[in-house]
Amino acid sequence: MSLQTDKRDFSERTTDGLGDSFMRNAVGSAQDSLKTRRLSAATALGDWEQWRTAGQQIRQHTLQNLDYYLEQLAGNIEKKGGHIYFAATKEEASSYIRDVIVQKQAKKIVKSKSMVTEEIELNHVLIEAGCELIETDLGEYILQMDDWDPPSHIVAPALHKDRRQIQRVFTEKLDYTDDESPEKLARFARKVLRQKFLEAEVGITGCNFAVANLGAINLVTNEGNGDLTAAIPKTHIAVMGMERIVPTLAEMEVLDNLLCRSAVGQKLTSYITVMGPSAAGDTDGPEEFHLVVVDNGRSDILGSEFNEALQCIRCGACLNVCPVYRHIGGHAYGSIYPGPIGAVITPLLGGYDDYKELPFASSLCAACTDVCPVRIPLHEQLILHRQNIVKENRTGSMERFQMKAAGRLLSSPALFGKTLRFAHPASRLMSRHGRIVRGPELIHGWIGARDLSQPVKQQDSFRAWLDKRKGESGQ
């Protein structure tokens, strides 16, 4: 998979999402339960707001000094006998990894969940090179077995699938014969994947944070697949976005707490591991360790007006509160990064040509900004994108005309007042039962997904009420 998961029009994708009632229910209830769990785990920390500030400061400090920390990391990894490679583009990153695998003459690869490997299209490159590659995160494994169905949530990639769909996939692809209970399905996957861990020659993982002064990576998981991926195969290749680094274990601890609590409402997840090249006398762990640091457009964000987007620790909390994500689902974003953070970073990494609609897929309610554990002003960044898109004349000519007309109307109190007076009678033909059901492009787009009330009668309007009150109080 690449950054782009669906090449169709944004409107086609959202129509699909809005029409998928299972997915919408699943997303709604996942949002509700994750929101509550996040809140209780956050409250348990004491002053959550201060923790958020600490998280923000750590991320900002690291970004401001990124070259320093990456250099320190490189020195420490090499000191321990590991390899580090800096890839400016996705092609460089995946071809480096392919070369390591080819040199090892490895064919069997296990992989734990990693967004950046999706971004660099690694699976595709390795499968093309003739490798057998298995995703070992249960959610990702389900998607792979279902012909690489794209993920729909950063933390719960298979959220859009129900147990019967999963049972069907396992039956068709893996000769599964049992019922659709999640326990049985998971136990079955455990058995199949266990064999893959034992056979694999190379393990590929992502990296939640690299620890600069230690020369190690930090993985945060619940299933244990990341650890098995790194511990058993003789070669471990970890891949990280260049910004995912902390100075020391002390800052890592703060961010891991923010991450676990924000992502899944746990104080800490089941497995948090700090690992690197093996030490003398170790009998498992990698005999060869590689860390690939990926830029792929990130340095263009660094120092720009979108710099704060790089603070993201991929917890998914902004997805779990977003009303737009709730309704359209993850696939509608057409990107491996959905939700509010997806709407900010996808256009930065993939350009406005393919993603100019995403910054408009927001109600600007700022719930995402309020929840973000590292205080990224997400809704403000979405507004910045919108301004850029308008400045670059990327909106449609009809939309520009309508917006210009609306702008003229809204900036003239007299004209606005007059229009309001006629709004009710003028909208009569377009309305039914107090709701507008027909209209030109702008209105049509709105009512396609939401209700729009018919304007009230002149005598019931707020302005009429205010004028009357002013009259009564003699003002």
Partner: protein, 231 residues
Amino acid sequence: MTVSGNHHTSGNNKEAFLNTIASKLGRERKREVQLPDIQSLLPDSYGSLTQDDLIDILKEQCFFIHTQVIESKPEILQRTLDDLIEANGGGSVMTSGDPRFAAYGLTFPGSFVWEEAAGREQNIMRAESANTAVIFADYALAESGTIVVESRPDQGRSLHFLPAHYIAVIEKERIVLRSTQAAAALNRRVQAGEPLGSSINLISGPSNSADIEMKLVVGVHGPLSATYVLI
């Protein structure tokens, strides 16, 4: 261990990559950095706690992470562990080579010990076929119900993940409040130039996943159950 061949022997692109970063940040390369004092920002939400308070916090948290906590004593530790192993259905046991097993006089006839001499394949095979793993915790973190363990020649990484059941013995004096204390202690060692194990694991209960319809399933790739024995 170098890999011969194209990319990685002809350099790792570091200089160009880091120069790009510095130029995007509008400055020269940074050669020195002052770390801000983040810890002083963090509130102390618990106040002072006794060791008994920590044990209570740990027990309460373990309820939420599907982990059984058994209180025992050094004198009866062997019996407690034997009972637990039997409750797991018996089968083979694998322990780490931690000297504390000998210090507490623990023996498990017919069990395997993770040892450097056995080599990679043997150790992994033994761990995979073991029904129960028994290890000693380096620290326990009360707030999250976490144990901290470090890999060593006598305690491999996969020992914690391959056996079906996992038992961690926690000496009460090793219980601290949070991950903050453990991270600070480990960090002090790094700063003093002391080597840490190549893998530091923070383990909070058994493996689990909510990938299918957000329903929590305990026991996914790693252990199916976890038990902490407090002594």
